[in-house]
């Protein structure tokens, strides 16, 4: 080995690229897209006693392609709803709501989704760039701790 590098992810992307990672995280954690953001917003306002927790995705910036700032997507799994959105500051945030769930539970769920979203985003980006650099995938596996290990190789003159 010649270098060992530890990198912290920074998510700077447009909304479609974020959506790809959201779809990957939703699929991995068993969530499905159910409603448009507007329908969800109206329903949450009507429901009483529903707990809600919002977690910001660290070092994230959703690049605006238009003037719309309230881009969001709503996912559900049983009684839990997750809303991924671009907030007023342009950051990506994950909001978990659910009747009958404590704030602690919802925070855990939101953090788990945030982590999976980040992992999916980094995976997509790394794989795309590896292909651009003509690396061959030697091995790829998901480890017991849910980390993804990729071994790539290329030959240079």
């Amino acid at each position: 080995m010649s270098t060992v590098l530890i990198l912290a992810p920074v998510i700077i992307a447009n909304w479609p690229a974020i959506m790809v990672a959201v779809a990957g995280a939703a699929s991995a954690l068993g969530f499905t897209v159910t409603k448009t953001a507007q329908e969800q917003k109206q329903q949450v306002e009507v429901e009483q006693g529903v707990q809600s927790v919002e977690v910001e995705v660290a070092d994230s910036e959703v690049l605006a392609q238009s003037l719309a700032t309230d881009q969001q997507i709503v996912l559900t799994k049983g009684s839990i709803k997750i809303c991924v959105k671009r907030d007023e500051r342009g950051r990506c945030s994950v909001c978990a709501t659910g009747k009958g769930h404590s704030k602690v539970e919802l925070k855990q769920i939101a953090q788990e989704f945030t982590q999976k979203l980040t992992q999916c985003f980094v995976y997509d980006r790394v794989m795309r760039e590896l292909k651009n650099k003509n690396f061959n995938i030697v091995n790829e596996e998901v480890m017991e701790d849910e980390s993804i290990r990729i071994h790539v190789r290329r030959w240079v003159d």
Partner: protein, 71 residues
């Protein structure tokens, strides 16, 4: 031709650990710079002894020079 291997581990939280093997010196730094740009920012970096070894081409030139002096 030189074989360059890269082991990439993306943790559950999205943090990335990269092991660059086979590339030395400047070549290794170029990979590190490229992967940093792809993922985000450097949290930690450690150079191993292989990093400081000269490239294969440079080593061959040195051996040739020594042979001339011996003659």
């Amino acid at each position: 031709m030189a074989q360059h291997d890269v082991d990439i581990t993306i943790s559950k939280s999205g943090e990335v650990e990269v092991h660059i093997k086979g590339a030395k010196g400047k070549g290794c730094l170029e990979y590190a710079k490229w992967l940093t740009k792809v993922v985000g920012k450097v949290k930690d970096q450690q150079m191993t002894s292989e990093f400081y070894e000269p490239d294969v081409k440079a080593r061959i030139n040195l051996q040739q020079d020594l042979k001339v002096e011996d003659d």
